[in-house]
Amino acid sequence: MINPKAFLNPKIFEPDIETVPTRNGFGEGLVLAAENDENVVGLCADLTESTRMLAFAEKFPHRFIEVGVAEQNLVTVASGMAAAGKIPFTASYATFSPGRNWEQIRTTICYNNLPVKIIGSHTGLSVGPDGATHQALEDLALMRVLPNMIVISPADSIEARKATLAIAKLNKPCYLRLSRDKAPVVTTNETPFEIGKAEVLYEGKDVTIIATGQMVYRALLAAEELKSHKISVRVINCHTIKPIDKKTILQAASETGAIVTAEEHQVTGGLGGAVAEVLSQNYPVPLKIIGVEDSFGESGEPNQLLEKFGLTKEAIIKAVTQVLRMKGERV
């Protein structure tokens, strides 16, 4: 059942649940963060409207730098601004930033531990018709491997807004993963959000689904459906990929004994990898990782793509039954 302390959207299981892209939440959050702190500045690489930095740029034109189509410059200039006391937010599509400029992020931002915020929009297959060149499926891995970097993947637009405000106050490099397509609004303003703290959204004891980004919604749908089959599923929203919330993961492992992870990302190096690292070294339990299996995406409508690549409620349910079987064999 839904965790009442999660204060989820009351319409969570209704067909007319509102849908908003997570990038919109970032756009709102950035304006609020800039109002709160005059050191917040914004830099964009010719994608100001699309990444939703436009509202900030219009409201604070003197704190906005348009660098043109130059993602290496985007982050290195931001590094210099952070070294001079600013809190720079950099926005582009994730395949370009942090995709194209990884070394600059590593050396000039992470190694220096400077509070530059890398905002990567258009992640996952749900980018849709633009095709594989624009569908970032590797960004969590790229950012998660970097020392000092904080990695956040919000479940919906409200959480993206909260995450934007939270990273503005955190004196560290941060990566915020956003998506282009409209996605169901799972949480509310009252839903707890704390960097590094995964939230139990749905309570259960037989198995746990740990999801991130848009897959949180599908995990909740899977849990609700499995309830009617008398399978008690716990759903955890793991919005912070790094530092990963070991405590909540290990508690789920010990209390439910089987785990499925779900993300719009390659199965290697992302949320599933992070969870596997925690489980295998501390409390091994059966694990299935739902994600893209070592391939690129392609053009298509978001839902068609999610279906083709197996990122659906049905795929999660299948994985749940598999880990339950594995767990049963072990017993």
Partner: protein, 284 residues
């Protein structure tokens, strides 16, 4: 600005002392770059002993000029100059590249107070300098940003992204000094990747360009002071230098870009540098 002959002479002597420390550091370290540090010693000396506004006892002083070394591999000359300028004891120079040292093989911002950036991977320093200059402009700050870069790193696309942005935002609080020594690891710059007319390139991106002899103390000082008066654009000072300057068997040789001297070579180098230094002292 007029400089007395004795003042210039003092700076020239200091530059040779710094070169000697560079050789000693590299011998002790057993690895590192020799050509670039020797070639840039005059410019570093002029910056730290004449031109920059800073407080070595308070390296985080808000109003300091920011010196960004983009081609981090020539850091022995930066470290040696900083030690002479009082940032840390010269004794510490011999820890270069050793375990636990603040003097990392390539400079690291958080390791040693007084370093503004981390560098080594080429082509980033100008953009970081642009970021600092943009912040300075936003805050209406008086401090300036000085970016030291190599000619070899003009091969990097990132450099030109920084060049364009600096021109676009008319960053006249930024001066870049390019070590035009014509060498890089694999050979001569014009063979590896022809750079052709760098002045024309920078000018077309809305920069002022001044070309100088990077071993002429008066020209170094005059160009830096002139850059302060050039408004509405960033300034590039192309400093023509001789890599390995002061040591005859190293001068102009790309083979000395990335290796240290052995004991015998170091002794020869130190003797030659001592001779140069004493000659300057004798000139009046």
């Amino acid at each position: 600005m007029s400089n007395t002959a004795s003042e210039l002479q003092e700076l020239e002597v200091k530059a040779y002392e710094i070169r000697q420390d560079v050789i000693k550091m590299l011998l002790e370290a057993g690895s590192g770059h020799t050509g670039g540090p020797l070639g840039m010693a005059d410019i570093f000396t002029a910056l730290y002993f004449k031109l920059l506004n800073y407080d070595s006892k308070n390296p985080h002083w808000e109003q300091r000029d920011r010196l960004v070394l983009s081609n981090g591999h020539i850091c022995p000359v930066l470290y040696a100059t900083m030690a002479h300028a009082g940032f840390f004891p010269t004794e510490e120079l011999k820890t270069l590249r050793k375990l636990g040292s603040r003097l990392q093989g390539h400079p690291h911002r958080t390791a040693l107070p007084g370093l503004e950036t981390t560098s080594g991977p080429l082509g980033s320093g100008l953009s970081e300098s642009v970021g600092m200059a943009l912040s300075g402009k936003m805050d209406k700050a008086k401090w300036r940003v000085v970016c030291l870069m190599s000619d070899g790193e003009q091969d990097e696309g990132n450099t030109w992204e920084g060049v364009m942005l600096a021109g676009k935002y008319k960053l006249d609080n930024l001066v870049a000094i390019m070590d035009r020594n014509n060498i890089q690891i694999d050979g001569f710059t014009e063979d590896i990747m022809p750079l052709n007319d760098l002045s024309a390139k920078y000018e077309s991106f809305n920069w002022h360009v001044i070309e100088i002899d990077g071993h002429n103390m008066q020209e170094i000082i005059d160009s830096f002071e002139k850059a302060k008066t050039l408004l509405g654009k960033p300034t590039l000072i192309i400093a023509n230098t001789i890599p390995g300057k002061g040591v005859d068997f190293m001068e102009g040789k790309f083979e000395w870009h990335g290796k240290p001297p052995n004991k015998e070579e170091a002794q020869k180098a130190l003797d030659q540098l001592e001779t140069h230094k004493n000659k300057i002292k004798l000139m009046n």
